[in-house]
Amino acid sequence: MKRDDMVVEKLRAALGDAVEEVSDFRGERTVYIRKDRLIDACRLLRDDPDLRYNFLADIVADDHLPDYPRFAVNYHLMSMPNKHRLRLRVWVEDPDDGPPTAADIWVIATWLEMEVWDLMGVRFAGNGSLRRLFLPEDWQGHPLRKDYPLGYEEVQFSFNWQEIDAKKPYAKQ
């Protein structure tokens, strides 16, 4: 756990109030970073010779409806030389005003941010290629948000077979 604390100390020393909160759960260290200082923190984490978080494993957006702030974006970083993982967490109040893109630090971020935008609708400032990745171009809404319905269709059983069969849109030749 020594490295966990060293990271936080370095971040606090260099960026001061950018570190909002630090939490531990099941042996995983999470550092909450202020949204506008995220890029500074990322650059420090990648470039500092003691830290060297050279690998961005994943970007995950999380929807906390009905809490406020509603969205959180997690950056799962890994340091291959030090064999250490760290999670940065950024609160996002307005999904259209999301965190800045991390593509300057890790190239892969563009690709991962596209997924987050498509499914969760968090817009990353400065990422020019935000577009529908998985869903059709004309899709409305972002399905992984909590207020988006699952889209359940009624299932056919023997007792309601006729009823559903009648309104099922079967294709013609």
Binding site: R26, F55, D62, N74, M80, L119
Partner: protein
């Protein structure tokens, strides 16, 4: 080439570059729309390994630019899992990376166990390791067969699938299903393996090395295969890390990184195995890494079988694992546990975890947030295929269009995991 665009293709020539870009929807930078040819490859194409669509800008036969268009298999797995209870959500993980269901089960189960804070029994750990390595072997066999088929080596495909059937028979023996096993469950395994399991796996260990030697005899020094793969699709180690490559594709670029050894889970730390590394970073190097990995799989399975001790496979907490069937007739408490578990499920505490393991394709990660209820509040998977696909444009730039097929085969993508 399967030339198929979902929109009307005959009008595409008359569009301006901006309109064209909006139309093709991949956001690709088109260098020269006048002189170059735009080819849409897929989603129905024999060598895109599923429903991947590639938009390729061609100068003659040379790839100027390439953009993958994915989502043709978007299944909404994450959303579906968030609407199911923890154990029921497990079935969706099988269908994500359908070539290695055991690894998916394992990563999700380990994330749930981490969230709950439980530790599984030693026998369950050893069995999980054996099964995960077996499914790695099965997955590499499919990869070898299909990627060799893309390079027109038909017989390798038939041989690989013959051996894969044997592994699938083992899966069917333990779980009752050939592919969608759902065998590794929170708290342990669905049930203990049958008696025939160990002899069947030992038999596999006996005949498999000769089979791998056969594949190597067909491919490794085959001049046609060498010419199609050596120096094709190279990526440097710096680029590989920056683009998030993991798994054999990363190790083929000279980065010595394997989660099984470097961030060990299960009992991998106490096992003796090598992590094969190649430095060329091309298609051929990825092939060599995977072939050597298949041999290491066999070593790991053999060590696992030697260590397999009798004992319980499930933890003794019947709030998480259902009580054995025999107890239901005798104990009222067991009936209550059984009923509660199958009607309500268990609840996980508030908090979030990220668990990563080494799947045959690379680092598969599972982010899981519990909110105190019996359903996960957020499930997210880091699909290694999804991230590995991002570097495809980099690898195939300035190569021939025929090489793109070899490169897609070499990064071993599974569309179910890319699109989720």
């Amino acid at each position: 080439m399967g030339l198929l665009i979902p929109q009307a293709s005959d009008t595409i020539q008359e569009l301006s570059v901006e309109e064209l870009r909006a139309k093709v929807g991949t956001g690709m930078e088109i260098v020269d729309a006048e002189e170059h040819m735009l080819l849409s490859m897929g989603p129905q194409h024999p060598s895109t390994h599923g429903v991947l669509r590639l938009l390729v800008e061609l100068d003659g036969e040379t790839v100027v630019n390439l953009a993958p268009d994915i989502g043709f298999l978007h299944t909404g797995i994450e959303k579906t899992m968030e609407n199911k209870r923890y154990v029921k959500a497990l079935v969706a993980t099988d269908r994500m990376d359908y070539l290695t269901p055991m690894s998916n089960n394992l990563v999700y189960t380990m994330a749930v166990e981490k969230l709950l804070g439980v530790e599984v029994t030693p026998r369950a750990k050893t069995l999980r390791l054996i099964l995960a390595e077996l499914s790695r072997l099965a997955s590499h066999l499919v990869w070898l067969g299909t990627s060799a088929l893309d390079l027109a080596a038909m017989s390798v495909f038939l041989y690989c699938f013959r051996e894969r059937e044997y592994i699938l028979d083992i899966f069917e023996m333990v779980s009752g299903q050939r592919m969608m096993v759902s065998y590794i469950r929170p708290g342990g395994l669905w049930r203990d393996v049958p008696e025939e399991f160990v002899p069947a796996v030992r038999k596999l260990l006996d005949f498999m090395p000769a089979k791998i030697a056969d594949y190597e005899a067909l491919l490794t020094h085959n001049p046609i295969f060498e010419m199609r793969t050596q120096g094709v699709g190279t990526i440097s180690s710096e680029d590989a890390i920056a683009w998030g490559l993991t798994g054999p594709s990363l190790r083929a670029s000279g980065v010595d990184w394997d989660l099984r050894r470097d961030q060990p889970y299960l009992d991998y730390a106490s096992y003796d195995f090598k992590v094969p590394v190649e430095t060329a970073g091309d298609v051929y190097a990825r092939y060599l890494v995977r072939i050597q990995e298949m041999r290491e799989c066999l070593r790991l399975i053999r060590q696992g079988l030697d260590r397999l001790k009798p004992g319980p496979v499930n933890i003794d907490d019947h709030k998480i694992v259902p009580p054995p069937r025999a107890e239901l007739g005798q104990s009222m408490e067991a009936v209550i546990h059984h009923f509660k578990l199958w009607t309500e499920g268990f609840s996980a505490p508030e908090g979030f975890v990220y668990q990563a393991i080494e799947s045959p394709r690379g680092e598969i990660g599972c982010y899981l947030r519990g909110n105190g209820t019996n359903k996960p509040a957020r499930v997210h998977f880091r699909g290694p295929s999804f991230v590995n696909l991002a570097s495809l444009p980099l690898m195939s730039k300035n190569r021939f269009i025929a090489d793109v097929v070899a490169i897609i085969g070499s990064i071993d993508i599974v569309l179910g995991e890319i699109d989720r």
